[in-house]
Every structure is written in structure tokens, then in C-alpha cells.
Assembly symmetry: D4
């Protein structure tokens, strides 16, 4: 099993724990990683963990997993306590975007950041978004999750000053092109300053948010007293 060289020191280097992307890994490869983590008493985040794969893990590992079937994530081993609240909102356009939104929220939770989840506020019924826009504006970081036309991202971009991390989802059919249309629409948004992650990558958006949070005090020190968000 020398094919796995896990990067346990990543957090020390870039402030982010390495997570285990489970899709495409065999049960043996995954068990090898979990054994290493247990030996180090390290907590791990698992993403894209299909139930089939989870069931093929040894019993000693399955018992230590805290699984979320909607987002296909799992916490393995010790979980750090929540240290940050009120920093991040995860806003999703539709019900079917929930798995991606939850992957983001769970990734944040694993790093000790509790996010607020706001789902089904797509712009086809703009009132749903408008009812909650003031609440959303209160979060310095907003993760916007949307598929199909991804119009939610542009509308949010024009209504809030928050850091806005956009996640296109593969929801939809035909011209949605498996998320490529949402991705392109977010990149080509008429609203300024949106940034985008890979399709369906709730994990990537959460990691980006963690970079922003991790630098906040340093950046605030540089920005100084003459500027407020």
C-alpha cells in the first residue's frame, strides 16, 4: 500500500487539513489511510463517500464514521469543537442543490466553523431571496450554490458586499450541460468580484472560505482602522 502518501502536515503548511476524496479509491486504500489517521489520533474529513464503499470498510472504521448521506461526507475520529460562528452563510438556489451546500457546511464544520444554511431561494421566485437578503448581508463570507442558469450568483453579487464564493452544480439537463452552463454564467457574471470553484465542489468553496477566515486577523491588522466593511 505504498501508493498512498498522505499529507498529514498540510494544515501546518497551508492552514487546511487534507481531506480524503473517496471516489475512485478502493476499500483497501481507504482503510490504509484511516489506519494511519487513527495511529496519529488525527480527525479526518471524507468526501464523496458512497454508501457502497462505506459498507465495504472494516467494522473498526465504520464505527468511527459520522456520515451524512445527503452530502456523502463523513467525519472520522475526533472532531474539533466549533470555534467560529456567524462568519459564513451557504446559500443554495434549489432543493436539489442541497447535497453540494451541505458538503460545504460539513467541510466548514470539520474545521470548527459553523455555517448557516439557506436553501431554496432561487430567483425564479425572487421574493424568497428578498425575504432573507438582510440576513445574508450580515455574513462576511457567502457561499452561493446554484445550477442551471446560476442567476442567484449574479443577483447576490449585486446586493451584498460580502466575499462571494460561487459553486456551480450539475443540476439540470440539456443546455445545463452538467453544470458547465452554471460555471460559465458565474464566471461571466455581470456582477463584480465573484469567484468560482469547480462544479459541485462544496468542499472547494469551504476550503476557500477557510483561507479567508484564516487570514482575517492578519489582513485586518494591515487594513487598519480607517476602513470598515
Amino acid at each position: 500500500m505504498t501508493e498512498v502518501v498522505f499529507d498529514f502536515d498540510r494544515a501546518g503548511r497551508i492552514g487546511l487539513d487534507e481531506a480524503v476524496f473517496c471516489a475512485g479509491k478502493s476499500p483497501a486504500q481507504l482503510a490504509f489511510i484511516l489506519d494511519q489517521a487513527q495511529a496519529r489520533k488525527a480527525g479526518l474529513l471524507l468526501t464523496r463517500l458512497d454508501e457502497t464503499l462505506a459498507r465495504e470498510l472494516p467494522e473498526r472504521h465504520r464505527a468511527a464514521l459520522d456520515c451524512c448521506p445527503v452530502s456523502r461526507t463523513a467525519f472520522f475520529g475526533p472532531l474539533r469543537p466549533v470555534a467560529v460562528r456567524g462568519a459564513v452563510a451557504v446559500v443554495a438556489a434549489g432543493t436539489t442543490d442541497a447535497p453540494v451546500a451541505r458538503e460545504a457546511a460539513r467541510t466548514l464544520r470539520h474545521a470548527g466553523v459553523e455555517a448557516t444554511l439557506i436553501v431554496d431561494v432561487g430567483v425564479a421566485g425572487l421574493w424568497r431571496l428578498m425575504e432573507r437578503i438582510e440576513e445574508i448581508r450580515n455574513f462576511p463570507v457567502v457561499i452561493a450554490v446554484a445550477g442551471m442558469d446560476a442567476a442567484l450568483a449574479s443577483v447576490l453579487g449585486g446586493l451584498t458586499a460580502s466575499t462571494l464564493i460561487c459553486v456551480p452544480t450539475s443540476i439540470g439537463y440539456g443546455a445545463a450541460e452538467g453544470g458547465r452552463t452554471a460555471l460559465n454564467a458565474m464566471l461571466a457574471s455581470c456582477a463584480p468580484g465573484l469567484v468560482v470553484t469547480n462544479i459541485d465542489s462544496g468542499y472547494g468553496a469551504a476550503s476557500a472560505a477557510l483561507r479567508v477566515i484564516g487570514q482575517a486577523r492578519r489582513l485586518a491588522g494591515i487594513v487598519g482602522g480607517d476602513r470598515a466593511g
Copy 2:
């Protein structure tokens, strides 16, 4: 010049005049068509008429052209009077979408329909759209012109009951993909009942609006008294 078989009877068949798509036509081909039209005393709409091509036409034709350089359209010969007012709004997201919006308005005008043009109401500054949304709702037919993320179309689709004909434009760069992203976003819109034309086809959207207008009395007769828009 037997290569041109102009369809002068189109209006009798499908209620739409044939227009002359000038791009790719030689001055000689175009002059041949204009001569035929003059002989029949028929008015013609010219689209995609570049200034270079217009200048190479014989003087007898240039004098009979009423050109709009922004939309690259021209009216040739007699122009029918305005017969319909208040039926169609052409709503464009940005200033750079104006050529396409004007092509739609000019095509409608050539058919005797005066449209109202509302430009620069993209959703990056949602207040601009909201200031005019009541006015827009008053039109039974709305042509929405937008490039890049085309979020205007989805927002309009959720706010108005009008027939909504969407025109993606080739405005933008990179992920805008020459209008393909706007096209796909309109097709995959989360708002229901939007219909879409080819990229930059203000002419196509106007023609679709003319089909709707041309059938209005017949359709109203079928729908009868128990249903109002």
C-alpha cells in the same frame, strides 16, 4: 443573377415579410434584390448591413435606404405606418446589448409595431430593473436581450406573466463563449416558460413577437371570456 429567388409572398403565407440578411451577400446580389423590390413597389427590411456594403450599392438604392448604424438595419422603399402600440417591450441588460435590442425594435417597426426600448437594466444593479418592472409588466410581449450570464432573463421570468422571448447576445469574453453561455443559461433558466432565439438575433425575436401578435385575435376568440391575462 438567377441565384436569388426572393420569397415576396412570404407575408401571405406566414404573416411575415421576408427580410434581406445582407452579411455574405455581394453588392451585385443585393442590388438585384432591391431592383426586384422596387419593381414590385415592395418595402424591404435589410439586416446585418455593414456600412462598407451599403456604400458599394448603386446611388439609386442608397438614396432609398433609411439606415440605423447601431443596429445595422435599413428600411428600403415605402414604410408602412405604425398600427400597433404598447404591445411589445424590448428590455436589454447592458449598453452593449443595444445593437441587438435595436435590431428587434426596427424589425417590429418595419412590420408596423412600435416597441418600447428599455436598456441598461441588468441585475448587477437590481434597482434599475425594479424601478421599471411595473412598466414592463404592462406589455403582453417582452423581448429580453442579455449577454454574459443572462440573469436578466430569469429574473424577468419570475416577475412577469408576459410572453417572454429571450435573445442571448455575444457580448462578453472568456467564459461568455461568444454568447453560448447566455444562450444556455436562458434555455436552462429556473424560471418557467421562457423561449429563446439564436445569439444576437434581434430579428428572430421580433419575428416571433409578430407571430404572437398576428394570432392574438384568433387566440382570444378561442380562449373566450373566462380567462384574462
Copy 3:
């Protein structure tokens, strides 16, 4: 189940009921929506309802479903009576386009509009279309459903003055590119004034037709007496 914020007031706002797009929804999410609808005594249209998903619904919901397996649609709860007849024809090129055509017809029926279905009139055997073209011309609104080369749309566009809403289907293989070729061919049609919906979106085409129907009386009032379709 706070992830579902159903838009029950959509009809009041844009004249269209919200429908439930079932693909990607879990049985629990769907049941939650149906419970809400039952509590409001609202009728609902369900689209893309796979049999597997339908079978996993609670018995109290299954009994209230009127399913069409060909189109994968279902009516849930009270169904409004037919109020409009003779306004819409749904014309499909081939037998394999029937599921999409039926999705359109069922969506219209849910809104009280009875459409006429004309299937297998593709242009490879032009006589099949020509035998019924006079009948088709009688409908103010025509929904054209076709895959592969989608030539039916262009031929119809040249033969009828009706409002022509085109639905590309994902029928075909190889160069049909899952409906992308039909979509592009309809958008780039040589016939004027066609409008297009997403691939396989019978629901979208019907919704567009309902916008046209809903505005007919208002539009007829504007157009006035000097113009007939």
C-alpha cells in the same frame, strides 16, 4: 425539511403554477412538498417522475397520483376542468419523440388547456406532414417536437403563421449529440420567428404556450380590429 420553500403563489405572480421537477429529489423531499400541497388543497403537476421514485412515496400520496408513464408526469390532487380547446397543437416528428410531446400536452392539460397531439409526421416522409398541414394551421399556437436534424421545425416555420414553439429532443445517436444538434438547428433555422426551449423540455414549451394564451385577450385588445391572424 426546511430546504424546500415551495412557490405556491407563482400563479398569482406570473400566471403559471409551480410544478415539481422530481429528478434528483429524494422521496422525503417530495413527500414534504405533497403534504404541503394537500394541506392547501392545491393541485400539483409532477414532471420527470421515475417509477422507482413514485413507488417510494407514502401510500397516502401514491393514491392521489394520476400518472402517465410515457411522459413521466403525474397530476396530484384536484385537477381543474378543461377551459380552452383548439388553441394548441403539439406536433412531433417521430414515435420516439412522443414522451416529450406528451409532457407538453399533460402540462397544458393541468392548466386547463386541451392540446391536440399529432405524432410521426417527420419530413423524411413529407406526405405525412402535408396530409395534416391544413389542420395544423388552424391552431394559433403550435409546439414542434423533434430530434436529430429537427427539420420538421423549419418546414413548419415556412408553412404556418402560428406561434411556433420548438422543443429539441435527445433522440438519436452520434452526430445528434444528445439533442444539441436539434437545438442548434432550430435556433439557426432558415424559417423566421421560431422560438426554442431546452432539450426535452415539453414542460417548458407548454409553459411558454400558457404565457401566450394568458396574454391573448390583453394583446387582442391592444392590436385592435384592423389585424387578423
Copy 4:
């Protein structure tokens, strides 16, 4: 100039003369080929010959060129007499398809085959095609030239038993995708037995027709007396 190894014996091998595709060739390379041809007293067909390039040729070559600016073809040196008439019709959907149609006709003429050109019979005005369909059916080989939706090809395919060689053109914009849509629509046609060449390749279609013509007597001998077209 050793970089040119002209295939003067191609006709002996496959029944087709090598033609000179001029795009991308320098005046020096082209002059080198023409000199070789003159030395052998061989006639040559030049395709994609831009006026700029033609003007940069030596006077001794320019004088021997019979140019057609519409199709950008030229005959160089001796031209064989017409040997075949009535075998091939070149049918083009629109006026702007004429350059490609003429490239096909000129390629055939260079090989001694006189084709009949029928232009501007696209299906948006189906009557134009129907007026000439009996004439078209008389040709054993039909080359169909069309851009945009290319619906002409499918309609012809359903109405004639002729060998049908389809040439997509790069005419159109947006969803026409530079001819890719026409190409795909022809390949995915609902009519059986169409064959297709590269986009804008009038030369390719004519070469295919020459293969069919060159084999006609041999094939007729095999097919024998019990089968007539």
C-alpha cells in the same frame, strides 16, 4: 522548392486529378507547381485561390488562369471538353451558399462533367423547392448545399431516390457554429442514405460525384438488367 511533390499520376490511380488547394501556399510554392504542370502540358484545377494570392503570381501564370471569383476556383492550362451532361444537379439552399455550390460545379466542369445549378430553394419557402423537385429527380446524382439548419438535405432525402451528397456550409451565425450545426444535422438526418462531406467542401462533393460517375458503367454491368433506378 523540394517541399512540393505533386501527385500528377493520381488520375491514373483513383480516377481523380489532383487539385491545388491554394490557401496557405506561398506564391513561390504555387508558381513552382504551375511550372511543373506547364512542363507536362497538364491542366490543373486551383481551389481557394484568393485574389491577393492570384495577383502575386508571375504574369506567365496569371495569363493562363480562368478564374471564378465567386467560388475562388481557377482553371489553369488546357481544359478538357464536356463529356457528360445531365448526370449531376447542384442544389443550394440560399444565395449565400452559391460560392460552395459553384466550387462543386467548377470542379465537375474541370473533369468534363457539366452540372446543373439550382440555387435559393431552401425550405423556408418550400414552394421554391417543390416547383423544381421533378427536375431534380431527373438527375442520378444530386449535390445538396446548405448551411444553418440544413433542412434542405432532409427534405430532398425524402423526395428523391438519387445519390445524395450533402455539403454543409459555414453560412450563419451563433448556433450555426460555423457550419458544425449543418454538418451534424445532415449526418443525423431522419432521411436515409445521405452522405456528407467536410464543411464548405464543394470540391469534396464534386470529387465524390466523380467517383460515382467513374464507376457507373462497371456497376451497371454488375447490377444487370433486372433493376432500374
Copy 5:
């Protein structure tokens, strides 16, 4: 079952029987067509007939099917005798191209034309092709079937004067792009006069060959005595 309007008169119009493309059809739709054919005592060709679908047909139809599992074709009902031999070779690059090659051969056989099948002569081992090239040259019509790089088509195009109908196959992975690369390579071939059908369309290639064969005597009469292949 009014959704099926079978084109039984196609042969009289264009010289080709309508075949039944089974993919996407339900057992009921297929049985309806077969019943119609039996009532007319017409023989039918079925293509893309998966074993699963075949097994779901009524016993009265299954007994009348002559199935070829490799090509997924079936003959239904009376089969006409072989009338033409030696006219067509079907040449395939690799073993995995055999299903498409056999679909072509079976389609020809259904129309009374017996083709010669030559498989596994791809250019990676050029000697395999060279051993049989003289034999191939004897056929007035050659159908070339190849996937991946499709180099066989170009090599054949340079070595034979026959009518050359090319079928790209979806064989291969990665850059083969499901047959799109083979399709494009055939269309962009450096050899002149190749024509191409849809990906995997053995049926289409055979239909094109039947058009050529059906016109052979008429064309030979026009070409006359001064020209031989």
C-alpha cells in the same frame, strides 16, 4: 397507438424500404409496427434491436425474426432473394468495428445485395490491407468502417477509384471522443472524394450504397460509351 405512422411507401418514392430503428421504442410500439407489416405481408429490417427488447415481443413476432446479435439487426417476415453480387465491399479496420460493418452488410442483404466483408485490415499493420487491396479495388462501391484515427479511410481513398462511403465508429477511448475524432478525420481526409455517414451508422452507409446501385443503370446511360471506371 396512433403515434406510429409507418412509411410503407418509401421504397416507391426513394427506392429504399423504411427500416425500424428500435432503440427508444417500447415493445408495444414495435409490436404495433410488426402487426402492420404482417398484415401487408411486407418484410421489414429492424436495427438497434437489443436482446432485452426482442425478448419482450409477443411470441408471434419473435418466431418471425431472423436475428444477428453481433449487429443487433433482425429480418422480419419474407426476405427478398439476392439480386446483386460483387458490387459492394464492406471493409473494417478492426475486430471491434465488426458490429457496424455487419449492420451495413445486413442492411444490404435485406435489399437483395450481397456484400463482401473484409475485417481487421487497419493501417497499424499495413501489410494486412495491402494483401487485399487488389480484391477491394474490384468493387465499384466500398464501405470503409473505422474508429479512433480512421486512417484506413484516407489510405483507401488514395488507393482505389471506387465510390468510398466512410462510417466512423465509436470504438476507442479518451481522444477518440466516442467516434467524433474518426468522423472529423474522415471529413478532413487528405484523400479526395470520401463521403461520410453518422457515427456507427452501418445502416446509413448501406442506404447510401443502395442509392448508388439504384441509379447505376440510369447513370451509365447518361455517361455513355466514352468513359469507363
Copy 6:
């Protein structure tokens, strides 16, 4: 000139000034906007300002422009003083990426943020990056600009904890696909937490950085004292 509705209040709403994207605007449209700005004594950032367009502006406007030809940006009117230093590094892979990097730096400067520019540190000569990596790590926000394979982004992502905003550039040819490859590589990066903007959008990356800076003090207040970057 009612087609321009400038969003002068954007900064109050989302903390970002509206900039003027000049590509596609006419001199008249641009002059109209500049006049409005002058009337309000507002400073403006102009992007994608080609020299040709700049020269066609009225003299009263040209004199008030501070142009940077490399990045095609201009400051118009009063420029706010620098308020933030040491917060942002703009790191570019190659010399040809400099225009995009400078567009980012100029956008930041217009908002009062002075960025440090580090150019030509692509990974083909990894020592160039390694010589400066400690310097780069000192910036809480890093904008990474790279074309072609965009490997710089992934390497930076693995070496620094900073917020990492990636800008793909259209540099390169062939498989670089106009920046699409760099875009996709950044999105699919093996390093976690990268976010991406549109191709060549230095302006977009700077706007995103301004969102992060604008929220820094608020976010630092939430994160509190127990967490440092």
C-alpha cells in the same frame, strides 16, 4: 443617450465602484458616461480601453485620463490616495501574462490598495518561484495569474495559506484553447481552496480581493482572538 444607466451608487451598496468596460462601447456612449462622472466629480476606472477608442474621445476627456497601455486601463478624474499596503500580491507566471496582472494591480490601486507585482515566476523554472515564495507568503491575499497549463496556481496553492484568487489568461496556442485549459486546470486543481475568475479578468480578481479586504475587520471581529493566519 438614454441607453446608459450608470450605477454610481454601487459602492454604497456592495463596496465596489462601478468600472467602465470599454470594449464594445462607442465613443459617444463613453463620452456620455465620462460627462456624467465629471458632473458628479466622481473618479472612474476604465478597462479594456483600446488606444483607438481613447483617441476618438473629446479632448476634454482625453486630458483627464491616466492611461496604462499595457493593461489597457485608465483612471479618469480624481484618484483616491493609497490606504492599504502589503495586503495583496499579484503573481504572474510569464511575461505575456503581465497585461492581466497589471489590470488587477491598477483596479486595486483605483480603490486605494497598492499591490505588489511579481512576474515571470512560472514553474518551468521552479527556482524563480522558490526564490520569492517567502515574500509571497507574507501577503494575506494572493492573485495568481497564469495561462497555458496554469501549474503556477496549483504549486502556490500547496505552498501558501493565503486567500488565493486565480486568473487564467488566454496566452498560448493550440491546446491552450484561448485560456479554457488554464481555467479548467485551476478549477480542477489538486490544491484545495483556490477560487477562479473569468479568463483574462484582472479586474474581476481585484474586485474579489476588494470584497475580502472590505470584510476583513468585520470578519476578524467574528473570528476573535483564538485564531491567527
Copy 7:
């Protein structure tokens, strides 16, 4: 079974044994090839051999197979001894790239070349690569296997003088586009002299390495004494 013409003499012609690509082959076709090989006492390499297919082979063949399930390769019959050691390193970015890396190593082993496998050294944790870079530099030929952004290839290209054969893998999702992004990034690499094979083609990379190895002595003789790597 005349559809298989195995190229047993390939090694004599180009120095490479023909391997059997099993995907898409039927058990009967595969058994036919294995019988031929047994009759010649030739050893064979099988690639893309799914377990399902392997199980359907006759017992006489299954017993002679040495299978590797990770890489889906098998050795059939006699295996030549290892003749070359220390010439090739196979370097893979991540654990999930191991199947492709092993296909390369197994192909080399079948030809008598023992490769060194180095896995999970992707650049997200650059230290993993740097720990082994001196070891990698010792190999004259390096096969680099990577998916997603494929940044490993560019970094290796800048750090080693070895012949560098790059294999993109289909690992990843969304913007990874099934390996197309890794392929393009390798082709557009900022490091010079990388060469690339098809996606997931460990076999292709090994074959290319065997070409280099097979020519080494001849090439060294030409290069002579004045040049060392």
C-alpha cells in the same frame, strides 16, 4: 472467426509486440486470439480486461492468465525475463492514478523492462515530490501520470532532463472533463519537450518508452562520445 487478423509479426517490424485491447471484444473473439497465440507459443499482453470478460473465457485460457486487477492487465502464456532495469520510472500524482501507472509498468514488464513505480507525489504537497526528485532524475525515461490539473508534468519538466512521456488520466470531476483538461494542460505545458499520450493510456506511454529504449544503442552510436545526458 475470420474477423481477427492478428499482427504476430509486429515485433519484427516495429519492435513492439501487438497487445490485445479487450474492451469491446466478445469472449469468443478473445478466445480465438488466445488459441492462435498458444499455437504459436507466443506470450501475449492483454489490456482493459474486465473481470467479467475474464470469467467468461474457457478454463484452458483462464489458467494461463496472470491478472492484475488494479490495472486490468494480464500476461498470457510464457513471459520473457527482465532484461532492462533502471531505465524507466513511472511517476503518478495521486493514488487514484495508480491503475494507469500500473498498466504502464505491466506493459514494460511484458517487454522485459522493469520500471520503478513512484505514486502519490502530486504538487499539492510539493515536499512529496522534492523528497524523490533526485531519484527520479536518475532515470533516462520518466512516465508522468496525472489527472485533474496535471501540474506534476510541468513541474517535472522543469526539474529533469529525462525523456518525459506524460499520460493524462480521467480522474476528477466537473472541469476535469474526463481527462481532457489534464491532456490539454500537458500539451500546453510551460515546460519544454514534454510529449503526451491518449487519456488513461498507460499502455501507450510504455510503448513509447519501448521505442526509445529500442533505439538507444543505435542513437548512442550516432551521438558519439562528445555528448552526455
Copy 8:
């Protein structure tokens, strides 16, 4: 001019000189690099040097340039003598591929390797290739340059044991897709062990050949006496 950090030590690290890719560089940037090179008395290779850019260089640089207009390359300053002959053949399919083939040959020459250029041997006239195949087989390294269908690469791959580096060119139109088809066809070749560079990258292919040559003696030492090419 701090934006240029030239990698003058590249040769010491990876055995390849850094070349200057001139497209997209300004005259000032290029002059800066040339000054640095002159100061170090280093010879430089310039690629993609358009005549316009060359003319804008200072006279002191222009005089030191040895330009090849066909390949748009230039040698600047001292040129090393030829050290290797007979190692590399550059084989191009058509006359229009010559610029790319010459870029490869010039890059090799700059590194002291004299290549043999063999042009216009595409497979449409297979005799041209067959006349020279024995000569080609004599080279341990073959660079194959081809556009359109790129069939030359596959045919060469089946006929020679040499290391085969393939360069797709952007020659052709329509389905040639700017070189993408040639690229894909080379990657998906039915012949084993081909490797591929970016489209039009003669420089890349030459660099890869230099890697092979640079490792030849080391590799020959490993391979030892029991193996000959």
C-alpha cells in the same frame, strides 16, 4: 522591465536552452531579453517571430538575427556548430505543413543537431511515402508533422520502430477544427507508442527529440549489449 526573469540556466538543469516565444511580447520586452543575452554572450533561439515585430527591434539586434521567414524562427548571436547528424528525420505530410516542420528543424539546428527534412509524403499518394520509407527507418528519431486527418502518423507508426514524435498542424478547414482533429487522431492512433505535442509546436517536438538524444548514451549504458534497435 523587471517583468522578465530569463531562465539562462535552463540548459544546465534540463539540457535544453530556454527559447524566446515572441508572440505576445512587445518590442521593448524582446529587446530587453536580447540585451541580457548579448551581455552574457549567449546564443538564443526566437520562435513565432512575426516580421512586424522583428522590424520594430533596435538596429543593434536586427543585425544579429538570422531569420527564417517560413518558420518564423531566428537565431540570435553565436550559433553552436553541428554536433549530431543522422539522428532525426522531420517528415511532413503536405507542403502547407512546412512551416511547422522547419520550426522543428531550426530548433534542432540551434541545439547542434542537423535534421533531415522530408516533406509532402502524405498518405493520399501513398507511393510518395513508400519511396522514402527505408530512408526514414534509418533515423532513430522521427518527427511526424501532419494536419487534417493526420493519417501519416498512424501509417508511419506501423512501418517504423523509431521513436515517433507527432506534431498536429492547424492546416485544413471545417472538420479539421484548427488542428484538434489531427491532435485527437494522433492520440487515438491505432499504431502503438506514438507521442504527441501541442498543435503546430515544431519547437516542442524538437525539444522532446533533444531530451531523447541527450539521454541516449546513459540509456544505452543501461540497456547494455543484449538489445539493439
